[in-house]
Symmetry: C2
Amino acid sequence: MTRRVYLTQRPWEELQSLFVARIRESARLGVEVIPTTEALGRITAEALRARISSPHYHASAMDGYAVRSEMTFGASESNPVVLPKAEAIPVNTGYPLPKGKDAVVMIEDVHETDEGYVIIKAVAPWENVRPVGEDIVLGEMVLPQHHRITPVDLGALLASGILRVPVFARPRVGFIPSGSEIIDITRNPDKVELAPGEIVEFNSQVITGMLHEWGCTSKVYPVVPDEPDLIKQALLEAIAENDLVIINAGSSAGSKDFTADVIEELGELLAHGAAIKPGKPVILGMVQGVGVVGLPGYPVSAIVAAEIFIKAAVGALQNWEPPSSPKIKATLTKKLVSAPGAEEFVRVRVGQVGDKVMATPIARGAGLIMSMVKADGMVRVPRLSQGYASGETVEVELFCTPEEVADTVLLAGSHDLVLDELDSFLRGYGSRTRLSIASIGSLGGILALAKGEAHLAGAHLLDPDSGEYNWPFIRRYLRNVPVKVFNLVYRMQGFIVPPGNPKNITGFEDYARADVTIVNRQRGAGTRILLDSKLAELGIDPTAVKGYDREEYTHTGVAVAVSAGVADVGLGIKAAATALGLDFIPVAEERYDLIVPCEFLETPKVQRVLQALQDPAFREFIATIPGYDPRQMGEELDDPERS
Amino acid sequence: MTRRVYLTQRPWEELQSLFVARIRESARLGVEVIPTTEALGRITAEALRARISSPHYHASAMDGYAVRSEMTFGASESNPVVLPKAEAIPVNTGYPLPKGKDAVVMIEDVHETDEGYVIIKAVAPWENVRPVGEDIVLGEMVLPQHHRITPVDLGALLASGILRVPVFARPRVGFIPSGSEIIDITRNPDKVELAPGEIVEFNSQVITGMLHEWGCTSKVYPVVPDEPDLIKQALLEAIAENDLVIINAGSSAGSKDFTADVIEELGELLAHGAAIKPGKPVILGMVQGVGVVGLPGYPVSAIVAAEIFIKAAVGALQNWEPPSSPKIKATLTKKLVSAPGAEEFVRVRVGQVGDKVMATPIARGAGLIMSMVKADGMVRVPRLSQGYASGETVEVELFCTPEEVADTVLLAGSHDLVLDELDSFLRGYGSRTRLSIASIGSLGGILALAKGEAHLAGAHLLDPDSGEYNWPFIRRYLRNVPVKVFNLVYRMQGFIVPPGNPKNITGFEDYARADVTIVNRQRGAGTRILLDSKLAELGIDPTAVKGYDREEYTHTGVAVAVSAGVADVGLGIKAAATALGLDFIPVAEERYDLIVPCEFLETPKVQRVLQALQDPAFREFIATIPGYDPRQMGEELDDPERS
């Protein structure tokens, strides 16, 4: 197949309008008439008008006695009126008003005696009566067209005698995964051993999950290899069965990317490439009156492109706009640089400390699905902007609710897997409280407390002079922030080396060897400070250490670098080595503490965190993780200079 | 059965905590292990850890050529490096890095020649490579426990080799409708003719719809008559099959309200009555370790009580809190009086004019399901408060999103059914724009424009002196607000009378008769002004007209009053008479206009409204409604004093 189309970059707003307009012209959803009891969440295909009034008879609004109101006029506690039994008929709420009566006296205002009913409160005509049509009048419009039916609407429909409703058929969306290297592990559930080059297909599940939330049904087709004829055949099959078709991927301009050419051949290619990042290599087309979207292969690219183009398309099909995310204003905690030319969608963590809502940009790789899982929202950097300065206010489209943001405990500092476990454990308490972890190193955490940007800091900072953990740094950087310190855990640090320790690393003196390349942690990380103090002890000049400048932000990052062969050794925790099948040579046990400003100590959410640390179930679980010792977990530690 | 329990009124917060604590103690949901592909929206029962890394091999991050990076050092456009074919292996995105290679040069930086590959840009070690575990590392926690699985999470689970997930079983909730007068029309779909006293059961659908949104499954049991033994039997059957049981109603203290006594007999009655309004007669209990909630019969009471107690209970069962409504600050457009003693939940319409978000309380009857359908949100008046003054800022829990509020056109003024039709028609345009109608009379609408509280006013105000419609009032009240006026419709006003016109009403002179009682419209309504001018013409003293002080706010209210026998006649539109099977005697055709401040004229949402008025489809539809004439619909009208 000759390449005939090239990737360009046009503003997404323009492409979205074009695509939506074409879909409105071409596509018409069918209408189904379904029982009202099955209509929750469906979109009305026409305005619905009441077939009966509600109430459909004059009904008592209270438990009491139906009377002719004029017979009660003047009645009061001091001047009761006695009615003969025939003139006060007992009625419960909802009973029809008996003929000849025009009001209801409440049960507590009537006493039965032998002479009749003693009425101690007068009623006006039609008092405590619900007249016909009080709620809904025959013929009244109960719901407009193109309205998504809510639980409350179901009640109004049934009350007005509407037992069947015409609704739009759900848009049917077909998803064709393509790529010769793609493995559908859901069809091979025992295949966990994958060969290099085999890529697990999961975009279909992410995108069809989104489609489900937008009111669509979906069908995932078998994986199609990168062959133009097979793609063509799969596309035509899907077009015959659906209102919209997605092909993923083959949307770029590589030697095996045929999607755009196939669409161009079968129908009309509206666009190849949009000015969005990630998501640039998206394809929009129409084939036989059906919209076709080619989504990029990287998951975050696919999600961003789907949010922009597919959401609008299925909204147009239903003539109903799926709700958008809640938005919140937040202050950026660090600089956000973006290349002009495309609107960039940057994932952020969002946290609220006091009244201050803060957004911290996280990893930006389009291939990182975990960056979406960990993100609380997205910031858009407009096409012509170069980004934002630290401290600027930005608008965040939230993936959660503002209440969830307010219930989050922000922990800044050194990364440790016990923090992930703590977050998970907390959720067992049934509150919305969760832990959001900003991995910015131990010192970074302490500085975040000083700036009022976190509720807790996690630190394992050894002061080489005193041999003390954390306190010297607290005294220096948190002079004006009264804090309490609680131990989280003791953990083993050591050398992470390839299996079999091929370079035979046994101590920090090996860092000086010419044949050893290391990987380092970032400045301010407790592990970095540990390394620097050890090198200083041994009199090794850091500039002579190969790889000293390659910085990673997490233990896992260090282990990945060793696993990838970039480095021969890195300092880190055992769990990171184990996860990647690497060897671990213990060096030193260190203390990891949580630092809590007194200002936040009594808030319920921080109290829940401290409660978890006291919980025997949590402590017992952490004790099972190799390299961890929870012997002082949750204990408050005193400043040795003050005690 | 002897009554043993009495209705009391305790703060809801206290009762909610008590109930939730008891449910946590007693109930445990089962855990199901289900395919990840079916897990959208389910709650994780434990933390989930990656079974494989992603990528699980070192992968090319680009389409390009895999190289040994050191062989490219120094390469640039002016100083290219030529590599033999064996030293540059073509790779697409996702391909495994060939053995011995440590970087990828992007395709656009390589040119193929006969001598080999010409590299015009150097790469660093591991550049354009995704190392093992870059996204997810084996053993890493992918999701915590008690987490609701989103579409993005599905991707992360599959990418990390987690093909089956342990999730909590959905809470099973049983719903028992009770009451001898209750008719399940869904089981009698052809029964639209109801006898007086037969009440259509719809609370089951409203409440199970809410339960569905809170992650539960539900079962609606057959209607149980008001017999203690039958209620007992139904309750025990439902308890055996569910994690929570709802009985509706019989929760009050009337002679046929047995729910509380039955619960007391079978288990433990925790509460009968809560300090909420509506919703006071709610019942909470535990029977055989299963929570039981007795909901009040009035739909709004049932909904409020369910939001407070059932939502918390099913949250506790799942150890997961269903998301709460978005909140918005709004200014009250009128006074809101509330009796202290109970927290009152007041339905409001919410609209935004410019930056100003306004909330207008609407009908408060607990029996009015349409008041929930028409509401945009709810304002809470705390237990000890007597309410709020007009102009106070309140917090609204929205039933829609803030974006929907911003997209709403607020129309204040006289009620007409063409406005409901206009709202429905607008939604066919596929935007989120909708019309929110505040029925406050023609003059009220004009005054709302003067205060900046509406985008449009709808008015049919006849000036008796000049015989002109609307303009004299605009000149008087909107002196400082430049406006345009567009005709909506001409419509027939007339006398709404009982079938057969028993009092033989033929003209306004009949209003003076001693045997005629009328129903009136509120001060400021166009219809009221029409009546007053006719009475003045005839020299009839309004104080001599029986029923002149009985005011209704809509044409429908007038028709309901006539239908109920409260009045012999009322002035109104034909459609209202027809809906209630009443007779109609035409009196005068009148002009109904829309008044638009120039300030809002060019906003897209107001433009959409004007577009609909020009739409032949809309005009043709309105022409089919008896009593309406759209001959000038959408035409701009000039001020006769200026033209």
